[in-house]
């Protein structure tokens, strides 16, 4: 079952990557990132059956980081939205050359 769990984890991660690359909506990109994090979490949990409890501990940490990231990231999105009136990341091109 470990192998399948890892397969599922990889599949979720790939889908998350795809989402980050092809979507324009900042929130959905964000969700995709959460998806990737979850994929990793899944792998951690699955592997914890083979290496020990540390795997699960890390999932705990990842969730905390995800929570912090969500808080700050969403705050940034709100702040940007106020300025641009959109969450379309193609419009946020201040960094363009």
């Amino acid at each position: 079952m470990l192998a399948y769990a890892l397969l599922l984890s990889a599949a979720l991660f790939v889908i998350g990557t795809l989402g980050v690359i092809v979507r324009r909506n900042a929130i959905i990109i964000f969700l995709s990132i959460e998806l990737q994090l979850n994929a990793v979490n899944l792998a951690f949990v699955a592997l914890s059956r083979y290496t020990g409890i540390e795997g699960q501990l890390f999932v705990f940490f990842v969730m905390t980081v995800a929570a912090a990231e969500a808080a700050v990231g969403l705050a940034i999105i709100i702040s940007i939205f106020r300025h641009y009136k959109t969450v379309n990341v193609d419009r946020f091109n201040l960094l363009k050359w």
């Binding site: 990109i29 091109n93 050359w97």
Partner: protein, 721 residues
């Protein structure tokens, strides 16, 4: 090396030779400096008032009030006053030295000026027979000119500034003639150049005048370069720049006629040519006439321009060791004398004529110094100081009168152009008489000063031409002939000046004529004193062959060959070296023979004839007033009127190319090449940066894409490899 480095304590003056104690020699130098400081402060104060008025939109007239402001009365006493005290001190010292039969120079050291590992230069002054003569000339003639200036510059708003500059000039001139080494001399050398610059451009708001000052300074600096390099060579050869060790050791250290001594003397000559306006560096002197006329008398006739002659005479030992340089010096001198005399024939500005006459006479002095007749050169320097100062001051009196008269008549004619003068003798009797005295003196009419001094130079040229082992004998013969011709030209152009100015019909503006009058007493008294000196000044050195004849009043003149003997301690070494190298001079003229007496008599007679002929020929001529006179062009007269095109040649040959090169350096080398390269490097970096910056699309997806790719690359490398 080995010079103990220690924090200096106070230096007390140290005298090295105690056979005669000079009286306050430092004070002689210090007094004019003091005058400069006081007058300078006064000048700044009056200038501040005038500028404040100007800023308020008005003009300040210092003479408008009931009394002249203090800033304009004090310089009258301070300026000439310090000169008088200095002159008295100089006389006192002269008397002391005269009694002491001094053999070696007295050197007074005040403090160490420059000291490094192997070079020590002291702030020291040297008193010997030569510097004493110069001292007397500078302070004496200087004092008279200061007094004259009181009258001449009376109505000038910059009066205190004028005296400040004049005092400063005398200070530097005294440093020049009293310095105990080449380095000290150089201080004075450049210092007088500075004062010349300031005084030529005294009326600095006039573009032409300040241009002239600038030109004088820069041309002088070309000469100074030679002086500087000569000092370097001297330092390399002797390890010192003091006169004493150099002249004592010269014979031992430098091979006679060797490359080093020739180079040193030629470089010194370059310096002298710059300062003393010798061809081709003479171009600044005629322009220098832009300064006030007493300045021309003091700086550009009597003292500063003779510094070169003094320097050559001072370095007589070195020159005696370098016959080639001597021939060059004499050649430059005689060429200058001839060229300047020819130019003087065609000038209309009274000061320009005198300027070229000065250049020409300086050429004579260099001829004398060049052929080894150092005494004769100094003698001519001295008499020339008398009669040329007199001529300039006389011209100053004329210009002063003309200027006032034209001003009164609201005429804008040129107050210096001789074509606007004529017939002044009736209105300016004293000036007319003293000017004639000076003219006859410079023309070499017996028994005036110029006769004896000029004759001696010409005669020594002839005498050394016949010296048995003189390699340049033929050349000297040519010099002698040219000098004779030039002497005649001198008589002619000076007579022309007198005729155009004082004789004939008056061409002065009709309205201005009634206002012409003699200069005030403060101006003509110095003229009179100088006239006396111009008459008797030559009697201090009547040559022996002439002394017993009627030319020497049958031995009645008490000071026959006096100057010669007086300067003997200074020139003795050089004379010995020269005689050893060239042999005894032949005391008869080359080509045709004849002794000094014969040639002296002949030349004064010839000069007299020229003067009389010129009087006759020019006296009856009608001159066209300047305004209506066409400019002369073409032919010899055109060349002369245009001064042999020296200025034009310099302009085309040096000034323009250097300017063009400067522009090229700036616009091409600096801006295009160097900065172009620098900016290219900068722009290249920027371009590279811009290229890379294209990756910065500003789109989050792109960044995610690239980031993922990068992570995959790293992970892939870890996993697959």
């Amino acid at each position: 090396m080995g010079f103990a480095a220690s924090v200096p304590g106070p230096h007390l003056p140290v005298q090295e030779v105690a056979q005669w104690e000079p009286v306050l020699p430092g004070l002689i130098i210090l007094l004019p400096l003091l005058g400069f400081v006081v007058n300078g402060v006064l000048a700044l104060r009056s200038a501040a008032r005038s500028s404040a008025a100007l800023r308020a939109g008005t003009e300040w007239d210092p003479f408008a009030g009931p009394a002249r402001p203090r800033t304009h009365t004090l310089p009258t006493w301070i300026g000439p006053g310090v000169m008088f005290v200095a002159f008295v001190l100089a006389l006192w010292n002269f008397a002391g030295m005269y009694g002491a039969e001094l053999h070696d120079p007295v050197v007074v050291r005040y403090w160490t000026w420059i000291v490094t590992g192997n070079l020590q230069i002291d702030a020291a002054i040297q008193l010997d027979q030569l510097s004493m003569i110069m001292l007397l000339v500078v302070t004496g003639v200087g004092f008279l000119i200061h007094v004259f200036s009181v009258g001449y510059m009376k109505d000038d708003t910059g009066y205190p500034r004028y005296f400040a500059y004049l005092n400063l000039f005398v200070f530097f001139m005294l440093v020049l003639v009293m310095g105990a080494g080449y380095a000290m001399m150089f201080i004075g050398w450049e210092g007088v150049g500075l004062c010349s610059y300031l005084l030529i451009g005294y009326w600095f708001t006039d573009r032409e005048k300040s241009d002239a000052g600038k030109k004088a300074f820069i041309v002088n600096r070309i000469g100074d370069l030679g002086f500087l390099l000569a000092m370097f060579l001297l330092f390399q050869a002797f390890g010192t720049l003091d006169f004493g060790p150099i002249f004592e050791g010269a014979e031992g250290r430098l091979a006679a006629g060797g490359a080093t001594v020739t180079a040193i003397t030629l470089l010194l000559m370059l310096g002298a040519a710059g300062k003393s306006a010798q061809v081709p560096l003479h171009v600044w002197l005629p322009d220098a006439m832009a300064g006030p006329t007493p300045v021309s008398a003091l700086i550009h006739a009597a003292t500063m321009v003779t510094a070169g002659v003094y320097m050559v005479a001072r370095s007589s030992v070195l020159y005696a060791l370098a016959p080639t340089s001597q021939a060059v010096v004499a050649g430059v001198g005689v060429l200058t004398a001839l060229l300047a005399a020819t130019i003087a024939l065609q000038q209309h500005d009274i000061k320009k004529v005198l300027a070229y006459s000065t250049v020409s006479q300086l050429g004579f002095m260099f001829l004398g110094a060049g052929v080894g007749a150092f005494t004769a050169a100094i003698f001519h320097l001295m008499t020339h100081a008398f009669f040329k100062a007199l001529l300039f001051l006389g011209a100053g009196a004329v210009i002063h009168a003309m200027h006032h008269a034209l001003h009164r008549a609201d005429s804008h004619e040129d107050a210096q152009d001789m074509r606007n003068m004529g017939g002044l003798k009736d209105r300016m009797r004293i000036t007319w008489v003293v000017m004639w005295v000076a003219t006859l003196a410079i023309a070499g009419i017996w028994p005036l000063a110029g006769f004896f001094s000029k004759d001696e130079i010409i005669w020594y040229t002839a005498a050394w031409a016949g010296a048995p082992s003189n390699p340049f004998g033929t050349l000297y013969t040519v010099y002698w002939l040219v000098a004779l011709v030039t002497a005649m030209l001198t008589a002619f152009y000076m007579t022309r000046l007198m005729v155009m100015t004082f004789h004939g019909e008056s061409r002065v503006d009709r309205n201005a004529r009634p206002h012409l009058h003699e200069a005030p007493r403060v101006m003509w008294v110095p003229l009179a004193i100088l006239a006396v000196l111009s008459v008797f000044g030559g009697w201090v050195n009547v040559p022996e062959p002439l002394a017993e004849s009627f030319l020497g009043l049958f031995g009645a003149l008490p000071m026959s060959e006096w100057l010669h003997h007086w300067l003997e301690p200074v020139t003795h070494d050089a004379a010995a070296i020269q005689t050893a190298a060239l042999g005894e001079p032949a005391y008869r003229a080359p080509l045709v023979g004849g002794g000094e007496f014969a040639w002296a008599l002949a030349s004064t007679l010839a000069a007299a004839v020229v003067v009389l002929a010129a009087l006759r020929a020019l006296g009856g001529r009608k001159y066209v007033a300047a305004a209506r006179d066409a400019a002369v062009s073409g032919g010899l007269r055109g060349i002369l009127a245009n001064k042999w095109y020296f200025d034009e040649a310099f302009d085309a040959g040096i000034v323009r190319p250097v300017l063009a090169a400067s522009r090229w350096c700036w616009k091409v080398v600096d801006t295009v090449l160097i900065d172009g390269f620098v900016n290219f490097v900068g722009n290249f970096t920027r371009l590279a940066g811009w290229t890379v910056s294209l990756f910065q699309t500003g789109q989050a997806n792109t960044y995610a894409f690239v980031l993922t790719l990068g992570v995959l690359l790293v992970l892939g490398a870890a996993v697959f490899l």
